[in-house]
Structure formats: structure tokens, C-alpha cells
């Protein structure tokens, strides 16, 4: 449930606002809805990780990963047709860590737990 709240609320917020909106949204969700610190972190982490990964695949699959493979080279990876996997994972991880940490911060403001 907590995971779903993160995914849905961040999806809506990100559709209109810059990327960093995930931090206050997750922070607030963590404060309001998390049941434990562990749940807060992993809920935030996987919420954003999954959201970003799905969004990325929806863009990159029809592009046949043309751009992601080139961006791999921009980040010093060798010219390789699987660069996109690395860029996909790094992107989702960065989103996930921000989401997780934000939820965890939110949960630290809770009086219980």
C-alpha cells in the first residue's frame, strides 16, 4: 500500500514539476504513512526505482535504446549495444536512493516508531 502511494503520488507530481519534487512528496508520505523506518526507506526506494524504470522502458524501448547507448558513451562507457542497461539501472538507482532517503527522513519526524 505504502509502495503504491509513493508510485501514484510521485507519478502525478513528476508529470508537472521538476524531478526533485519526489523528495518532498516522499518525505511527506514517509511522515504520514510509513509504519517503520525500514518500510519507509525500502518503500521509498522501490517506489521510485520501479516508477522510473517503467517510465524509462516506456521511452527507451520504442527508441530501441539508441539514445541510452549513446549516453553510455558520454559517461565514458565503451561503444556497446547494452550500455542502455547500465544507464537504466543507474538512473533508477539514483531515483530510488533519493526516494528512500526522503521517506526515511519523513519517518524520522514521526512521533511513534
Amino acid at each position: 500500500m505504502f509502495l503504491l502511494i509513493i508510485i501514484v503520488s510521485c507519478f502525478i507530481a513528476q508529470s508537472i514539476l521538476p524531478w526533485w519534487i519526489i523528495a518532498p512528496v516522499c518525505l511527506l508520505s514517509g511522515y504520514l504513512f510509513s509504519k517503520s523506518k525500514k518500510q519507509a526507506f525500502w518503500g521509498g526506494f522501490f517506489g521510485i526505482f520501479i516508477l522510473w524504470m517503467i517510465k524509462i522502458l516506456s521511452l527507451s524501448l520504442p527508441n530501441e535504446h539508441l539514445l541510452a547507448n549513446k549516453v553510455g558513451q558520454v559517461f565514458m562507457l565503451p561503444d556497446n549495444q547494452f550500455n542502455w542497461v547500465i544507464i537504466l539501472i543507474v538512473s533508477s538507482l539514483i531515483g530510488g536512493v533519493v526516494g528512500g532517503l526522503s521517506c526515511l527522513s519523513g519517518s524520522h519526524f514521526r512521533k511513534t516508531n
Binding site: Q14, V74, S91, I94, S102, S105, F109, K111
Partner: protein, 812 residues
């Protein structure tokens, strides 16, 4: 709410992380912002083109515009009036090439430091000090006095800005996201900047200092011998024997003393870029109508230099390429005529020694008069640093590019700038060049072509022309300063009024030829005309070899068709190699060779003079003749204090063919006296050694396609956004003048007639987005020497199967 140390700590940790991921660090983009799929680079991952129709509402249109995209994503823009047409052209170019528009304008205007920081400061200073802004402002002021051209520029500007104003940050091209900055609104002066950039690329070569140094060292006799004002071999653009149909105006007399002492450090000038165009009359073609070809060569980059489009409005239907930022079509065709350009290497840039009255540098001398210096302040904004403010001194000639202590160390571009000299340059001249293209786009016949050329100033081009009425013509055209013979070959003295440019060669007197006897016209950057032409344009042009090859092949053609033209565009035959092979082989002392060297020499001896990708001989020849030229000249012409330019390829060939015992063969750094045979053999052995060190034993790695290593980099050299290495043939002395990073930036063949048929492509794609399938989709075909059939749309007449997408623009 509970606020304690741990909640505070986690909050701060999160906030810091978000801040860092939102900040650009060094060359890294802000990672969170960049990798975010909702607004970051993933948004530029475009799907393949799907067949769709759509309608967009846009503010600023008068009527309806239809844009049809063909299978190569070339837009065919149809508007109800001209204003809407140029508006839509601006809109579409912004949609496809927004970052390129921004970056190239910033480059020309000296504003790169604003976005890439202090590493661009020297470059920005250089472009500002060369007077790029001075020239662009002069041009804008002049063009906008012409109401029609003002309408065109304004409509085009509004179109670009209409696109920009609808953009959300997620839509910004990927380079904006990588470099973390925003597009800004377009201004009409930006179009002027882009045209000035063409002058900077094509009309800014200058050997004046090297020549002055060489003159000081060797004296006028040697200079006359080694740097003649007309080459040993030539095949000029205007055929020899063409009568000049005008009475020349009086030409200024050369002053007695024209050289100055210099002490400037310089690097050798690079060989020109190489462009070709030609046309045949109906008598030589299989259709009975003219066929015209053009392939302008440039330093190739991605996004592509050119943009293909078709523009249709009442009274106008033209197809061709333009430079993003320049309205209309620069090279192209309509139903009646076709035209193209190659560069004219005329001398339109000179340096004047300035004599100041005193250290305040407020006045300078011209004859007996002290004239005021104008001081112009340039402010360079630098990302993350303080703004740099500096003063540039302007004379009536132009800016003094660098004073003592102002010239940067690490900027090769600036090496050819003499310190304390004012720059007189055609790019500063007020001009209305876009009017030439505006009128050519609408031209119906030869007279329209001639009238259109009169507006053109710079960079001077060989305008080739063919019409359905079976006229062909070529005109080396632009503003040619009226000079004494050899004026500006060396540095000039700004205190002497005799050294000034004395106006221009009347535009009607520019060399031209219509329907010559031989049935064809052509150009390949060589001399515009032979020595009977009364005006002086320059002492040195690109080598004659490509031009001569084109003329040789055209002379043989009968009932020629598009395929013959295509073959000639792809022709790797080098007349330079033909001139040199046997004389080189004859002068190698075979007894001194190793087995490997003997094998290489046999390969070379049997070479057919073609720079084909799979040949090994061109790799040997290319390295050898460079080493040989160095070997002959560099001992005499190297001086760390007074650098010079080496004699031309033409002069070197003349020496090797006709001079057995010239003193230049001797290496003055050794005690022995070297002969021609010694130096030819020595450099051959060195060449084979170097090739062996780089590519191992003689084998497939020695093939020219590998050794040359052609590739097309990204405009900002972003790794991954350029092409891989392309296996191509070609040489600067062959018609197919592909070098490592220069080559035919657009290839076009137009067959005129009742129905115009055209073929063409450029090394790139229509889109400027590295995430699009149309970013570099034509590169492979280009490397294979193939062409696309160009879709010329006519309402109600054309097969609409090739239209893949239609966008209607309607007023909001």
C-alpha cells in the same frame, strides 16, 4: 511532529543529496535532473517515425501552413503567403535544430563562455576581436533597410520563437540538458552571425605574415620563383580564351616598397576544404536538358551542417539545403533552374600595421594625418566566474585584433594574427547576401540568375547555374576588393593611403561565362580565370587537380545521365598522383631498399592513381609526399623566430618534375650534399618505417580507408554523439575530396526538363537530436557514395505515397 538530532540529520542528508544531484559539476551534468525519465534526457529518446497527421495551433500565423515530411523526414512546407512560409521554416528548423542554432550563434558572437565556462574565454575573445559582432551588426542594419528582407528575417525569427515559447524544460534538446542551460529567444542578428560564421570558415585564410617573413629571409627573386602569382599547372574556372566583355576600371599602382618586418610565430596553413560543381548543356545530356551537380566540402559535424527543405508559396516552389539560421534555400533548384556554389579563395582579408601617436593609443597615422581610434568595450560573461571586460581598438580598417600581451598562447586559430595590426576583412562589410538566395529561389532564367548575384558580398562563391531554357553559366562572385597585383600577399602598412583597398571590382566585371563552346562549366576552388583577366583576386588558389579531372571527364561525356554525374562525384582518381608516381619511382635508389620497402615500392609502382578505400598505395603516397615536401623545404623554411609558409604543392611538383639539381634538395642541416635521389629515397624509407610502426606488416591495416580514418564528430565534440570511423576512399586531390573530417557536406545532382528530377543527401540527418533515428540516417549511404532521390512536391501532381507525416499549422 518530532524534531531531534536524527530527524534533522536525515533531513539534511536528503537535502544535500538532492542539491548535489541538481547541480552541474565540472563536465558532468546535474545527474538527478539529467537521468530523470520525466524531464531528463530520456525524453529525447524518439520513437521511429509513425505515419500521423496532426494540427498545431500557433500564434502569429496569417493563414494555414501544411508541412509534409517524406521518408527521410525532409519537410515540404506549403504556405498561403510568404510571411507564413518563412515563419514555418523558422518553426521547423527550431524543432529540428534548436541547440545547433543556439551553439553556432554563441560561437560566432563570442558567447560560449556563458554556457561552458572559462575554457571558452580565449575563443570568445578571438571571435569578438576579429569583429564578428561588428560585421553582424553592419549586416543586420543593412539588410533591414530592405523591407522585403526585413519581412523575411522577422517572419523567420518569429517562427523560431513561436517554437521556443511552447517548449517545456523536458523538451529541451539533450545538449542543453548535458550542459545545463536554457534556450533563449532568437533575434534577427543571429541570422547575420551565422552568415558571418560562413565567412569565418571560408574567407578568413591568411598567409600574409608567413609571406612577409619569407620575403625578408630570401628576398624578392626567390619569392617570385617559389611563390608565383600564377601556378605551374592550372585549368581555370573560366575557360582559357574566354573574351572579357567589359572595359576594366583603372587598377591601382603598386607602391615600390610593400613588405614589412614581422616577428610573428605561425603554423602552416592547411590545405583547402575542396568543393566541386559542374553543369552540362542539353547537347551533352541524354535528356536534351542541362544536368547540374554540386558538392560543397566542409569540416563535417553532427548535427549536420545543412538542412534540406522544400518551400512552397504562391509564386515560389523551391527545394534545397540551407544552413540552420538562414532563411530560404542556399543550394537547390526549382522547376526552371538549378544552382550551386563552391568557395572562391579570393584574398579578402588583409592586415595593416598601425602607427600610434603615443602610448595613450588614441590616435593613429594615415599619411600626414592623425586619426582617432574608436574604443569598443567587450563584456564576456563567464559561467561561474566574474565577467571579463576588455577594450578593442578600432581603426577605419577594422579592429586591431591583438595588441602586445593580448594574444593567447593555446589557441591555434589566433596564430595567424599579427600583433599590433588592424584587420580589414570582407566579413565586416554591410551586405544583403540573403537577397541573392531569395532571388535565386525564385529565378526562372539566366537573367534572373545574373541579377540575383549582384547583391552578394561574402564569402565569395563560384555560383553555378543551369536552366530549363538550356543555359548554363558559372560566376566566381562576391565583393572583390580592387587591388594592385599582389596587394595583401604580404602585410600592409596602415599609415600609407596607397595600401588601402580602392573600392571594389564592379560586380558586373566579376569573371563569368555563359554557354561556353565546350558544353560544360565547372569549378573546384581553383583559379577563377587565367592571366588575361584584368583584375587581381589572389596569388594562390586551391590546386588545379580536381578541376582538371572534372573537366577531363566532362569533355569525354556524351549523352550523359545522372549516373555519370554520381560516378564523377565519387571519383577517387588523383591527377596529383598521376603527376608524381613515375617521377618518384624513378628517383628511388632501389639497391638500398629492404624487402619490405621493395614490396611497398612495387605496390606503389602498380597503383592506378585511385584513392579507393581498399587500396594500400594511397596510404604510402599520402605519407610519402608529405614527408618529401617537408624534407625539401622545412630545413630552409623553418625559423622559430620568423615562421614561414612552405611553397605550394604545385611548386613542389614543378620542382620535382623539371629540376634535377635545385639547391632545395640539399638538407642544409647536414654536412653532406644531398641530391634529389637521396631525399626521395630517404623519405620513402621513412614513410614505410612509419607505416610499419603504426600498422604492422603490409596488409589490410595499411588500406587507405583505415589509415585515413574518416569520422564525423559532434559539433561540441561530445563523445558518443559523433559517428564511428567510416571506411571511405577519397583525397583532397581527387574529386571525392573526403579527408579525415572534411568532405562533401551536401551532394546534389539536378536533371532539368519538363519534370525536374533531383538526387542528393548529406552526411547526417534532418534531426539534430542524437536520440532520433533521423540524426545520422544518411551517413551510411553517404559513405557508400549513394544518393537519395529527392521528393519534389507539387500539389495535385506528386505521388503522395512518400509523405509519411503531415502537420498543419493554424493560427491560434
Amino acid at each position: 511532529m518530532k524534531i531531534n538530532l536524527s530527524s534533522f540529520f536525515y533531513f539534511l542528508l536528503t537535502a544535500t543529496l538532492v542539491f548535489l544531484l541538481n547541480t552541474k559539476m565540472g563536465s558532468l551534468p546535474p545527474l538527478g535532473k539529467f537521468l530523470d525519465p520525466f524531464n531528463g534526457f530520456w525524453q529525447q529518446a524518439e520513437p521511429r517515425l509513425s505515419e500521423t497527421e496532426s494540427t498545431l495551433q500557433i500564434k502569429g500565423l496569417k493563414g494555414e501552413v501544411t508541412i509534409r515530411f517524406d521518408e527521410n523526414r525532409v519537410p515540404h512546407i506549403e504556405a498561403e503567403n510568404e510571411e507564413d512560409l518563412y515563419f514555418a521554416q523558422g518553426y521547423v528548423i527550431a524543432r529540428d535544430r534548436l541547440w545547433q542554432l543556439d551553439f553556432q550563434t554563441r560561437f560566432a558572437a563570442g558567447r560560449l563562455s556563458e554556457v561552458i565556462g572559462e575554457k571558452a574565454i580565449d575563443l570568445d575573445r578571438y571571435n569578438r576581436r576579429m569583429g564578428m559582432g561588428f560585421g553582424a551588426r553592419n549586416m543586420e542594419a543593412f539588410v533591414t533597410k530592405d523591407p522585403k528582407m526585413k519581412m523575411v528575417l522577422d517572419a523567420y525569427t518569429n517562427g523560431i520563437n513561436a517554437y521556443i515559447s511552447n517548449l517545456k524544460p523536458k523538451d529541451y534538446p539533450i545538449e542543453f540538458k548535458l550542459l545545463d542551460y536554457k534556450p533563449e529567444n532568437w533575434k534577427p542578428i543571429n541570422s547575420a552571425y551565422l552568415l558571418k560564421l560562413m565567412s569565418a570558415t571560408l574567407a578568413a585564410a591568411s598567409n600574409d605574415f608567413y609571406m612577409s617573413n619569407a620575403l625578408n629571409k630570401f628576398g624578392p627573386e626567390v619569392i617570385k620563383d617559389l611563390f608565383p602569382n600564377y601556378p605551374f599547372r592550372e585549368d581555370p574556372i573560366i575557360p582559357k580564351g574566354t573574351k572579357w566583355d567589359f572595359d576594366p576600371v583603372s587598377i591601382p599602382n603598386a607602391p615600390v616598397e610593400t613588405s614589412l618586418n614581422t616577428n610573428i610565430k605561425l603554423d602552416p596553413k592547411e590545405e583547402g576544404l575542396g568543393s566541386n560543381n559542374w553543369a552540362i548543356t542539353g547537347n551533352k545530356s541524354n535528356t536534351g536538358f542541362p544536368i547540374l551537380a554540386n558538392d560543397p566540402h566542409l569540416e563535417m559535424t553532427l548535427p549536420a551542417i545543412w538542412y534540406q527543405n522544400q518551400l512552397t508559396a504562391p509564386g515560389l516552389n523551391v527545394y534545397g539545403v540551407t544552413i540552420p539560421g538562414s532563411p530560404g534555400v542556399i543550394i537547390g533548384f526549382n522547376k526552371e533552374v538549378a544552382w550551386g556554389v563552391t568557395n572562391v579563395g579570393s584574398d579578402v582579408l588583409d592586415w595593416y600595421k598601425i602607427t600610434f601617436k603615443d602610448n595613450s593609443k588614441n590616435e593613429y597615422l594615415v599619411e600626414n594625418e592623425w586619426r582617432p581610434i574608436k574604443k569598443v568595450v567587450e563584456s564576456i560573461l563567464v559561467r561561474g566566474k566574474e565577467t571579463i571586460t576588455e577594450t578593442v581598438l578600432y581603426t577605419h580598417y577594422g579592429p586591431i585584433v591583438y595588441m602586445e600581451g593580448e594574444k593567447p598562447e593555446g589557441l591555434p586559430k589566433s596564430n595567424n594574427v599579427p600583433i599590433g595590426y588592424a584587420l580589414k576583412w570582407i566579413a565586416h562589410q554591410p551586405s544583403n547576401d540573403i537577397k541573392t538566395f531569395y532571388e535565386l529561389n525564385r529565378a526562372k532564367n539566366y537573367n534572373d540568375y545574373r541579377a540575383a548575384l549582384l547583391h552578394y558580398v561574402a564569402p565569395a562563391q563560384n555560383f553555378i547555374f543551369a536552366s530549363k531554357e538550356n543555359d548554363i553559366a558559372i560566376t566566381p562572385n562576391g565583393y572583390f576588393p580592387l587591388k594592385w597585383k599582389g596587394q595583401g600577399k604580404f602585410l600592409l602598412d596602415g599609415s600609407k593611403s596607397a595600401h588601402e583597398w580602392k573600392g571594389r571590382v564592379p560586380a558586373e566585371h566579376n569573371p563569368t561565362v555563359k554557354n561556353p563552346q565546350r558544353g560544360f562549366v565547372s569549378s573546384a576552388n581553383q583559379f577563377s580565370a587565367d592571366t588575361t583577366y584584368p583584375y587581381y583576386l589572389h596569388w594562390e588558389f586551391s590546386g588545379y587537380e580536381r578541376g582538371a579531372r572534372i573537366n577531363r571527364q566532362l569533355a569525354k561525356m556524351d549523352k550523359a545521365d545522372v549516373r555519370d554525374f554520381q560516378q564523377l562525384q565519387n571519383d577517387n582518381f588523383s591527377i596529383h598522383a598521376e603527376n608524381m608516381r613515375d617521377v618518384l619511382v624513378k628517383n628511388v635508389t632501389v639497391s638500398s631498399l629492404t624487402n619490405r620497402e621493395k614490396k611497398a615500392l612495387t605496390l606503389f609502382k602498380n597503383w592506378s592513381f585511385r584513392y579507393d578505400a581498399k587500396e594500400i598505395a594511397p596510404s604510402i603516397f599520402e605519407w610519402w609526399h608529405k614527408a618529401l615536401a617537408q624534407g625539401i623545404w622545412s630545413d630552409e623554411f623553418t625559423d622559430s623566430k620568423y615562421p614561414m609558409v612552405m611553397p605550394s604543392r604545385d611548386r613542389t611538383v614543378a620542382l620535382l618534375i623539371s629540376d634535377e639539381n635545385a639547391k632545395w634538395y640539399d638538407d642544409i642541416k647536414t654536412n653532406e650534399k644531398e641530391s634529389k635521389k637521396d631525399i626521395v629515397t630517404k623519405t620513402f624509407k621513412e614513410t614505410i618505417d612509419s607505416l610499419y610502426e603504426s600498422y604492422g606488416e603490409i596488409g589490410s591495416k595499411w588500406e587507405w580507408g583505415h589509415v585515413k580514418g574518416t569520422n564525423i564528430p559532434h559539433l561540441a565534440k561530445i563523445v558518443g554523439f559523433g559517428t564511428k570511423t567510416l571506411f571511405t576512399g577519397g583525397s583532397k586531390t581527387a574529386v571525392n575530396a573526403i579527408s579525415q573530417t572534411t568532405g562533401p557536406s551536401w551532394k546534389m545532382i539536378v536533371s532539368l526538363g519538363d519534370k525536374v528530377e533531383a538526387f542528393g543527401l548529406f552526411p547526417g540527418g534532418e534531426s539534430g537530436n542524437p536520440g532520433s533515428f533521423y540524426y545520422d540516417n544518411m551517413v551510411e549511404k553517404w559513405a557508400d557514395g549513394k544518393l537519395n532521390s529527392l521528393y519534389f512536391y507539387e500539389r495535385g501532381k506528386s505521388d503522395t505515397k512518400r509523405i509519411k507525416q503531415t502537420i498543419s499549422l493554424i493560427s491560434k
